[in-house]
Structures are given as structure tokens and as C-alpha cells.
Subunit: 285 residues, 2 copies
């Protein structure tokens, strides 16, 4: 592994002593966002969708040419982390590791990767999510679309558009004006009794919960304009940490509850024990 | 500063002890490429273009909403690094620092930033650079265009398209087919005795050497098709580490040397002591 011969690290205006830090600070994850990540929900010491997360990570690593750690090493690392953190949000970041300065990917370097556990998110707003439209449009980059890479400034800027705690999420359009996703969730719309979700071939992420829902709900991929979304019978957001969440409002538009949403949540509860259906429907609803 | 309550770091299949590393590993630079960088050339213990680099960094920080460290702290850090590394490539990475999980930018956190020194690059190929066209097209994202942010997977993928050491750089087009830049340099083309360079309002980086050349060479910003570039009298690449480098070949096309290139290099030599003109013209030519 090649590291710069000298490196100083700072926090605000103050220097920080750098040791093994050089491994991360000299790495391409830090320099270029040259990596991939997975955000997963653990329940009872297990990550029920780990095979799907690992498969998506492998697809991303293949696309970017990053060396995937062995399944054994990842399984062991996950087990070690889950033991003290059985119910948590688990994040895995896989980066290309370190190399000499410059964009050329080094050959034969070990990937640098990291697992971390965080607290579960608070329960979402009762009665459904409140959304806004984001001003920032997603650029079209088929080479990076679908995978969960670490170049996320578009999402950071979109999420920075509001600080109002009355807004739960923002919907993003692509530069052509089609609905793509929320800043950290996929979106499904119920139209004539059928679930639709935008394709992620030009921008957006192929979410693990989205993949599950496409199959389990027999949903259809298709481009959606904002007007088509607003004319839908119901709208939900989904991701692998929060499951399926109904949307109650988007700007000035409101949706009443729809039985198809509860039905989708019940199917998810059968598939993933972290999202059980309670008396009030989903614990999130 | 909020860090994940648990964090493990790995190199390849092996765990690495994490201490202050958490600062970097838990940071948004690592997670999202949520940062900016400057790559500079030091000569005789100084960075002659430091004011221009700092100004671009400030513009990027303003655009992304990242807190800029004080000029005093950056000046001092640079001085400390230059003392043992008077002639080097200096890299500054400024990231938003750490916050809780999720895209929402934390408020009131200290930026994490890093300075490093690397060896100067080897002298470029005598007689001019050999280029290729990259297949990967740059996406159009005006919100990120021009600034030198850390979301660089497009450049990494473009640079990964070739390993042939006979190729020095690759030219990139945008999705509409206009010439934008090389993977790590701006491009100028001489047309009817006048230097032209593509605008960087939709993609690409406003290079510090490019900014200098726009002024010093009285160059014009304008979109260039590949055919227009190939029909130019001369083509050069430029950046703040290597100065102005003539292009001798691009795919099957060859350019003879042109006196305007030597003239541009002489003007640069007057402006920046790291790029002196020697008997053979520029030390790089």
C-alpha cells in the first residue's frame, strides 16, 4: 500500500495526530468517494436481507472494479458487530483502498472497508410522511446509476434544501423532469390498482426494499411525471432501514389512507421480522 | 461531534484498530465524498498559486455549505508542511466533518481537513502528450460543475479505461458530445490563432491554471465538438501541477509543434517559478 510520505490531519483549525488514520485519509474513499455502501437493518442479532445487500454490493464492486472482501470475512465482521448491537442500523462502507495520487485505480490493493452500528431511527410521523419537491435535479449517469456508490453530493445538497422538521423527505426529479426517488428512499405509486416505481437505469439507486417490492407486490417499472405521481391513488416510500412508509402529503396535495398500503406492509412483515404489523397496522404507520 | 457508537475498520479481510480513525471513518468525506480538494505545486517552499487555490476552495465551500477553516490556520498548516517538503505536490482535502447518519448536513460541526505532500510527477513524454478519447461521458450537473469536489467516480472510471503506458491522458465528452476536459486537466485548443477552452458550467472543473490561462492568453470560453478540436492548430492540456503541456497525438490525429504553445509556456514561466522555460522550451516539453 502506498501512502503519501507526509500527511497532516486537522479538525476545524486544530491539528489531529495521524497514525493509522493515514490508511483512511490516504484512501480513495476519502479522496474521491471511490467506494460503495450498504445501510441495513438488524433485528435480533441478524440482518434478514444481508444476502440481498451483499449481492448489490457485489454488483457495485463489479461495476467499479473494486475488490470485494471474502464472504467469510464479511460474515464474520457482521457477526462480531451484531453480538453487542443486535437491533441497530448497520452500515458497511467498501472503498478501493489506497494508492498513489491520481485517478488511475491502483491494481492489486486491498480494499479498505468499515462496518458500523447506529441507533435505530425514531418512529416516523403517525398518519404518513410529509414530503416536498427538491429543487436539485439528478444528473443522468448510466455508468453509476442503480449502484449504491459513495458519490452522494446530489443527495446531500437536496437534503440541505430544507430544515423544517415538519418535512420528512424530499422527492427528486431527473434533469428531464421525471420522478426518480426521495433523497434516501425509493418511491412507489399506486395507479389503477397497480404499484409503479421509476426505473434506476440513468440515476437513482436500486434499493434492496425496492427490489423486494418489485417482486412481492408484482410492481411495474415505468417513468412517472410529477402530475402522474400526484394523480396516483397512494404513494409510499421504501428503504431497507424503514421498510414501507405511506405518504400523506406532498406540497399541497394530500392522500387519504388506502388499503393497498396496509396490504403491502403486511407482505413486508412476512418477509422481514423488523417490520411487524401491529394492531395499528405497521409499527411505522 | 457525533460519531457512530461502534465502528470497526478493515483492510482487505483484516480488521484494523480504530482510534482517532473514527474521526475520518465516521466523516462525511468518507461516506459521501462530501468535500472539496486542491492539488497544488510547491516550489522552493512556496505555493505560488495558493491565493487562487484558496479562492476556489472558498467558492466550493460556499456552494456546498461547508465551513472554510480560517486563512490563518490554513496558512500555518501549509507552512508547517512546506518546511520539510519545499518542492512537492501538495494536496488539501476539506470535508464537512462528522455528523449523525444520513444525508442531512449537520449544522455547527468543525470541518475535517487534511494536507499532504507527495513527490513531484515525472517529466512528461518528450515531444508532447499522447491522448485517447474516453468512452465514459460526463453527466450534466450545474449544481456541482466548476468546483473541485470529492465526487470523482466519473474520473476514476474514465481513467480506468486504459492501462497502456503509451497513453498519457484521456479526453472526456459530456453526454451531448461536447469536449469538456481530460481526466485531470483542462484542455485548450488554438483556432485561427486564438485559444479556446470549453465552459465548465454544466460539468468539468474550473482549473486554477485554466483560470490563469483564460486571462493571460486572452482565451475564449466556448463549446468544442471533437471535430472542431481535431481541426485546431494546436491543443494543450493544463493543470496547476504540470502547467501547460502540448498534445502531440489524439487517437489517429497528430499535431506538429506550434509556436503559440512555446509562447504560452513562456508566459506561464513568468507567472509561476515551478514552470521555467529551458533551452528546449518548457522543462516539460
Amino acid at each position: 500500500m502506498t501512502l503519501p510520505p507526509a500527511m497532516h490531519v486537522y479538525l476545524g483549525d486544530m491539528p489531529v495526530e495521524a497514525d493509522v488514520d493515514a490508511l483512511l485519509a490516504g484512501g480513495r474513499g476519502f479522496a474521491y468517494g471511490d467506494g460503495l455502501f450498504e445501510t441495513m437493518r438488524a433485528v435480533g442479532g441478524e440482518v434478514p436481507w444481508w444476502p440481498a445487500h451483499r449481492a448489490r454490493l457485489a454488483r457495485g464492486a463489479e461495476r467499479l472494479g473494486i475488490v470485494l472482501p471474502s464472504a467469510r470475512a464479511m460474515d464474520r465482521a457482521l457477526r462480531d458487530l451484531l453480538l453487542p448491537h443486535p437491533d441497530a442500523v448497520i452500515k458497511l462502507v467498501l472503498t478501493r483502498g489506497s494508492g498513489s495520487r491520481g485517478y488511475a485505480p491502483p491494481s492489486d490493493v486491498a480494499s479498505v472497508w468499515m462496518l458500523s452500528a447506529s441507533a435505530l431511527p425514531p418512529a416516523p410521523r403517525a398518519g404518513g410522511l410529509v414530503l416536498r419537491w427538491c429543487d436539485l435535479r439528478l444528473a443522468m449517469q448510466p455508468a453509476l446509476a442503480g449502484i449504491k456508490h459513495c458519490n452522494r453530493l446530489e443527495q446531500v445538497l437536496a437534503r440541505a434544501e430544507w430544515r423544517d422538521e415538519g418535512i420528512d423527505e424530499g422527492l427528486m426529479l431527473d434533469v428531464e423532469g421525471n420522478v426518480v426517488c426521495a433523497t434516501s428512499a425509493n418511491v412507489f405509486a399506486l395507479r389503477e390498482g397497480r404499484w409503479w416505481t421509476p426505473p434506476v437505469d440513468r440515476c437513482g439507486v436500486a434499493g434492496v426494499c425496492r427490489e423486494w417490492a418489485l417482486q412481492a407486490l408484482d410492481a411495474t417499472e415505468g417513468r412517472l411525471t410529477p402530475d402522474e405521481l400526484l394523480a396516483s391513488q397512494a404513494v409510499v416510500l421504501c428503504n431497507a432501514v424503514r421498510g414501507i412508509l405511506p405518504v400523506s402529503r406532498l406540497g399541497g396535495h394530500a392522500w387519504p389512507s388506502h388499503p393497498a398500503v396496509g396490504d403491502a406492509q403486511r407482505r413486508l412483515a412476512e418477509a422481514h421480522p423488523a417490520f411487524p404489523v401491529t394492531d395499528r397496522g405497521s409499527p411505522w404507520a
